[in-house]
């Protein structure tokens, strides 16, 4: 029997039992659609986090004070409080030729006011290099001027939301704002940066690092952000940072250096596993759909006993009957899978309208896996009914 004839015969059989066919297609479609939607969700989360990290800048090393590790032996004689990272440390690191840009960072919180408006915001103290390291953008004016790290200046750059809330439609540039007891002149406004790793970059005030030190009366830095010239130099630079700071801190390794890539890789792994897990959960519904196919095909074999007997009388061999019934479950699964894909994509599109920032994209492997799983479950669960049909005694079947 030719493959086109098999498909034609099966399609006629499927359209002959419309309700049954519709319900089976629906079951399979729901299974496949849920695989598409759930893996899209997982993949979307992964892409979203990856994007967030990438927006930090590339080839980024983050130096923070303190060392997280477990050590054995007797407690140290001296107090084990980690030494602060200072501007001198930052300057020492700047000497390396692999360091393209370096931004020391102080983070604090203070009320910012202009005329009668006041708002509590995050204060970032840094240098002109922060602009490049964090890949920021400006909507007005300019960023911090390239000053020596230890030189304070009464200038500041406002986040987009902060500028909008404080000044409304009033001109921003050149205005003086009050930060606690200090005053600074607004020289720039950031672009609409949105959220970046938990910090709302719209609601910040950025000032020179020395000014921030004076404001918070603190010498220690919160972080040092280092942009390395090329990806290949990351490891070497990381070693250089640790060695330099150890030397400067009396031989004690009391800083942690995180590379953005390592962080990204970890999140990528975790969220990738999440996608697989969600896909796996959704695949269970494909299994259920497969069992439904088996159930209904068994009923179909019982209903169509005399048809099977007739086909045998007309010269169909056992393997042909097997093939016809297997083709029927396979075709049901495939058609169901196609409808499911369409429904899944439609669902993704609808979700995308509601959450435009979140990338709903089903990974290609999940699409293939859903189709192949659907087909396999149709074939495997269709095998028993098909065998039962093929093994029917034609004499009994004809009279059945």
């Amino acid at each position: 029997m030719k493959i086109t004839d098999i498909i034609h015969f099966v399609m006629q059989a499927l359209s002959g039992y419309r309700t049954r066919t519709f319900l089976l297609l629906l079951a399979m479609a729901i299974g496949v659609a849920s695989v598409v939607l759930l893996t899209s969700l997982g993949e979307g989360a992964r892409l979203y986090v990856t994007q967030q990290f990438s927006s930090l800048g590339t080839n980024l090393l983050i130096v923070l004070p303190g060392k997280n590790e477990t050590t054995g032996g007797a407690p140290p004689m001296m107090g084990a409080v980690p030494r602060d990272i200072t501007l001198d440390d930052a300057r020492a690191l700047q000497r390396n030729s692999y360091v393209r840009r370096l931004a020391p960072l102080i983070v604090g919180s203070a009320p910012v006011s202009w005329q009668s408006y006041e708002r509590e915001v995050t204060i970032l103290g840094s240098t002109a290099d922060l602009y490049g390291v964090r890949q920021l953008s400006l909507s007005q004016g300019q960023f911090l001027p390239p000053l020596e790290m230890d030189r304070a200046a009464p200038v500041c750059v406002l986040g987009y939301t902060l500028a909008d809330e404080l000044f409304r439609s009033h001109r921003v540039l050149g205005e003086w704002v009050r930060v606690n007891q200090y005053r600074c002149r607004v020289i720039g406004v950031l672009g609409d940066e949105g959220m970046s790793l938990g910090t709302d970059m719209g609601d910040v005030l950025i000032m020179p690092v020395a000014s921030a030190q004076a404001l918070f009366n603190a010498q220690s830095l919160f972080r040092i952000l280092i942009e390395v010239t090329q990806a290949e130099a990351m490891e070497r630079t990381q070693k250089f940072v640790i060695a330099t700071l150890r030397e400067r801190h009396d031989g004690e390794e009391d800083v942690t250096v995180i590379s953005q890539d390592a962080l990204l890789a970890t999140f990528d792994r975790i969220l990738g596993a999440l996608t697989y897990t969600l896909g796996g959960i959704a695949a269970i519904s494909l299994l259920v759909a497969g069992i439904m196919i088996m159930n209904v095909m068994l009923v179909a074999v019982a209903q169509r006993t005399s048809e099977i007997g007739l086909l045998k009388a007309l010269g169909a061999a056992r393997h042909q009957i097997l093939m016809l019934f297997l083709a029927e479950s396979a075709l049901l699964s495939l058609l169901g899978a196609m409808i499911g894909l369409a429904l899944g994509f439609l669902g993704n599109w609808v979700l995308q309208q509601y959450f435009p920032d979140f990338p709903f994209t089903a990974p290609v492997w999940a699409l293939w896996a859903a189709i192949i799983m659907a087909l396999m479950s149709g074939l495997i669960f269709g095998l028993m009914p098909a065998k039962r049909a093929a093994n029917l005694n034609p004499v009994v079947a004809l009279n059945g």
């Binding site: 029997m1 030719k2 004839d5 015969f9 006629q12 059989a13 359209s15 002959g16 005399s306 048809e307 007997g309 007739l310 086909l311 045998k312 009388a313 007309l314 010269g315 169909a316 061999a317 056992r318 393997h319 042909q320 005694n393 034609p394 004499v395 004809l398």
Partner: protein, 220 residues
């Protein structure tokens, strides 16, 4: 053409053993027209099923057109059935979702014949059995006589050597029955071997030879 030697077939019905065929020896020549008669349960249908290779012997031998049927495997038996034998049933056994032409083409489809050849051969039998204007109707749009003519067309579309008819007029009124008998007898005149199971003595008498059965045995 058809040869049965000491053919036996028994069935278990509850605890009892029923002889469908009991040591039957039979020879049927090509082109014969034979009626098979006997009371219910005498083994008529079993004999037809064995000859049609729908059922297998417990003991004895069956030779069809020189081939020892018992020694063939399932798929060769299916092929032999497809090539040499046509069935006509009392209840027509047409697939309700297919048109008359599609029903007729079914054995050719199963045999893997090309669509073009298939259409040509279907057109030939449809014309020969005077079904041209009914070819695209479904079974529920046909009369009983027309349905049986479609079933006969399906049985002969593969040009078999043997036509097995089990009470072919059993579900038809007298006029339709006569019409169907004429079609079958015309086919026999063209050379096909015709075996017909019937209860009707008048119909049985039309055959060249009558095989009478009782309790699984062929009466002399």
């Amino acid at each position: 053409m058809i040869e049965l030697k000491n053919a036996s077939r028994t069935f278990h019905v509850g605890d009892a053993l029923v002889h469908g065929l009991d040591d039957v020896t039979l020879h049927i020549a090509a082109g014969e027209y034979i009626s098979i008669m006997g009371p219910s349960g005498s083994g008529k249908s079993t004999l037809l099923n064995i000859i049609g290779i729908l059922d297998a012997l417990d003991s004895g031998e069956y030779i069809l057109d020189g081939k020892h049927v018992n020694s063939l495997n399932e798929s060769h038996q299916a092929q032999l059935r497809r090539d040499k034998i046509g069935f006509v049933f009392q209840s027509f056994h047409l697939l309700p979702r297919l048109t008359a032409a599609e029903n007729i083409a079914l054995p050719l489809t199963l045999a893997g014949v090309d669509k073009k050849d298939r259409e040509q051969r279907v057109a030939e039998v449809v014309a020969a059995l005077d079904l041209t204007d009914r070819a695209h109707h479904r079974p529920d749009q046909l009369s009983g006589g027309q349905r049986q003519r479609v079933a006969i067309a399906r049985a002969v579309v593969t040009r078999p050597r043997v036509l097995l008819a089990d009470e072919p007029t059993g579900n038809l009124d007298f006029a339709s029955g006569m019409e169907v008998m004429k079609v079958l007898e015309d086919l026999n005149k063209q050379g096909i071997t015709l075996l017909m199971v019937t209860h009707d003595a008048n119909l049985g008498a039309r055959a060249q030879r009558t095989i009478r059965m009782l309790d699984g045995k062929v009466l002399a």
